[in-house]
Amino acid sequence: MADTTMGALNGAYAWARVSAASLRRDRLRRSSMVALWLCAAVALSPLARGAVLPEDRADVLYHRYEGGGVTIHGPSVLVRKKMAEKYAVSANYYMDMVSSASIDVEVSGASRYEEERDQYSLGFDYLRGKTTYSLAYTNSSENDYQAETASFGISQDLFGDLTTITMGFSRGEDIVRKRDTISGRVDPGFREPIDRWSYRVGVSQVLTRTLVMNLGLEVITDEGYLNNPYRSYRYVNPGDERLFALGGEVYPRTRTSNAVALNARYFLPYRAALHGGYRFFTDTWGIGADTFEIGYTHPLGAEWIFEAAYRYYTQSRADFYSDLFERRDEQNFLARDKELSTFKSQTLRIGATYEFARSGWRFVKKGTVNLFYDRIEFDYDDFRDARYSLLPASDPRFRAAGTEPLYGFGANVFQAFVSIWF
């Protein structure tokens, strides 16, 4: 999970300086979820075409995320090849190189840290009649986190190929480790597992000659050590109510979430497309979320495709989240992960694709060069900028704990990639 900006309030107490090594875990529960998702994506990707296997294609992508004191960048390579029109294999390598000094890192008193995550995925598809069977495996590794996921999917075309139904199942096993805050070595006495299950069903329906819709449902259950071993919650310092102290977070050991998404694409009277989507989310931690997206795709000439999109996301906090607890161990479960708080995010995307070698070149049938840029704004409703209460009381910017300004930040996300079809 090397990717998460969200930081980690590492360390047990506010006054305890936490070393960079202890902060590397900032992201854990999500890394394996990403592996789960990627595995499912690899397993189900051919389903997008109904009873047709994916085209032979190779993609080389460079990604870069900058925001909230965090920079994450690296490559991703995806190759897909079919054989005898019945079988297809795919392979993906993905890397995150992280450099983080997020607000959580700053508040904990630690310094910027660096880390790396490597992820490998393999997929296999078998097409028989109008049914596609898919298998996938993903392995993700960090110095203190391992995740393995296996996935199975099946899709079936119906109604003259106007309807595609899909089903999928994924099973993940993670191992959470912890590094020593001083030496950086992995603690041999800390080894916590997480088991994950994901169940998916979906239906895609051609409604008219220009409109297609897609409905998906996914239930995910996790069981195990779901919190970050380095992250802390904060509570009012009993010695001085203007200040705060930190304690280790405690999460429930199970989580089940439900998500339903409806998406549609519409071909306009001229050659361009509109798309829109909505996702409803709820889970057993009390988080409820809504995601809306709308976008427009516009080809220009034979070589260019431009697109723009807007995404709006809003969520309510987890039941056991608080920006500032009244006292230490105030309740059974305690969290101050800003991803569990009440917040909204807005994303504006622009992108361009240029197609080259349209008439082929050697073994290449065609190729594209792609550039995408996303600007994301995060605005938190109950996560405060604790750096203000860490200032000396004599500083005019000082604010007492619980009265600091609400936190928010913007992120820039760049993607540049080349795709070839062969």
Binding site: A41, R265, F281, E339
Partner: protein
């Protein structure tokens, strides 16, 4: 489990299975209301739910790492039958 209960359960399972088979076989006879030769627009790459899988996988990763919600983001299909 008593034999009568087992038999009842078997009967229910067989009935459900027969119903599924009937429904699916009926599906095969439905006349497509969008003919294959009318699917030119649907076959256009700009109508794909997932035109660049390597890119969409990355963006799902970006959001999932920073938001509490998760799941139901994979493109379940196009159902176009265009190729």
């Amino acid at each position: 489990m008593r034999p009568i209960v087992r038999m009842k359960r078997r009967a229910v399972a067989c009935s459900a299975g027969a119903l599924v088979v009937l429904v699916l076989s009926a599906c095969g006879n439905v006349e497509p209301w969008v003919k294959p030769y009318e699917r030119q627009a649907l076959a256009d790459p700009i109508m794909s739910f997932d035109r660049n899988p390597v890119s969409s996988a990355y963006m799902h990763h970006v959001f999932e790492a920073r938001e509490g919600a998760r799941g139901a983001v994979g493109s379940a299909g196009g159902g176009c039958g265009c190729n």
